[in-house]
């Protein structure tokens, strides 16, 4: 088989493969909107990250401060499969948490989550809005 035909065959094979990717188009909400939409908000650190069999990502988050509801010192958080935050162990975040009917906590990109080193305005909004 000539190189050109080999390349064409490889390209056809690649195009025929089912895509398994996910992604979304979104912008981050204002901290006020994120606070309104979340069931709880937490400042702390991502302790560990594990990927499940279905490609889902779950991480353990060490909670240092919380708003809207009192949270335990460690919580398990499910990352969105479609619009993932992409957690990294050791990262410090303000997380806007949602609680699905199935229980637990979940988050996603475009829910207002912000790295702590960029969270000054968000923390101000959280403290002002909740009287802390």
């Amino acid at each position: 088989m000539s190189d050109r035909r080999l390349i064409a065959a490889a390209a056809a094979l690649l195009a025929a493969l089912p895509a398994t990717g996910w992604a979304c188009r979104c912008t981050e909400p204002s901290p006020q909107r994120a606070l309104h939409d979340a069931q709880g908000v937490a400042l702390g650190q991502i302790v560990s990250v594990e990927t499940g069999a279905q490609g889902t990502t779950r991480f353990i988050f060490s909670v240092e401060r919380s708003w809207k509801q009192s949270l335990p010192s460690q919580i398990a958080v499910e990352d969105s499969a479609v619009c993932p935050l992409g957690p990294v162990a050791g990262a410090r975040y303000v997380l806007f948490l949602h609680q699905p009917k199935s229980g637990g906590f979940e988050t996603a990109k475009c829910r207002g989550d912000v790295a702590e080193d960029r969270a000054q305005a968000t923390l101000h909004v959280l403290d002002s809005a909740t009287g802390k």
Partner: protein
């Protein structure tokens, strides 16, 4: 051309995932907006060489026209109307939000091009998908903050 998920198409989109839905279009106004956006893409963007070239640099390597002409790519509807979610993609399955459709044909067209870049392999953490708008006659619709470009810079600075 890509296929539209309408009830008569008999297509079943993916199950709801992470709050996103892939539903058939049942609202005539939203379907009309989608058709207008698709007409702009079909008549102005599909044959635009820089757009095709930009798509060929994405991981799956197909030109924009090749992706656009693929009837196994489905466009569905998501009722989200929250002001900051435009659309999502799972494999070959694209969904466009009510919010995006309410913003009109240009926002819908930009969201379609962005999501088709994901169909062509653009990842969800970089600005690659949104960046194709610059090459696809939709530069005015490009949002520099969309999906991760700024977040990734910050993440890199914090954890490298």
């Amino acid at each position: 051309m890509v296929s539209i998920n309408i009830p008569s198409a008999g297509h079943t989109g993916p199950a709801a995932n992470s709050g996103w839905q892939w539903l058939p279009y049942t609202d005539a106004d939203f379907l009309a907006t989608l058709h207008r956006a698709m007409h702009v893409i079909d008549s102005k963007i599909k044959g635009y060489q820089p757009c095709n070239a930009a798509f060929q640099t994405l991981p799956r390597g197909r030109s924009f026209a090749q992706v656009w002409n693929d009837p196994t790519v489905w466009i569905s509807f998501d009722p989200k109307n929250d002001g900051h979610n435009y659309g999502a993609t799972l494999g070959q399955e694209v969904t466009i939000t009510r919010f995006s459709l309410r913003m009109g044909l240009w926002t819908t067209a930009a969201t379609l091009v962005h999501e088709l870049a994901h169909v062509n392999g653009a990842d969800g953490f970089s600005h690659a998908a949104e960046g194709t708008l610059r090459s696809c006659l939709l530069q005015g619709l490009e949002d520099p903050t969309i999906v991760g470009s700024i977040d990734n810079v910050a993440r890199g600075q914090a954890f490298v």
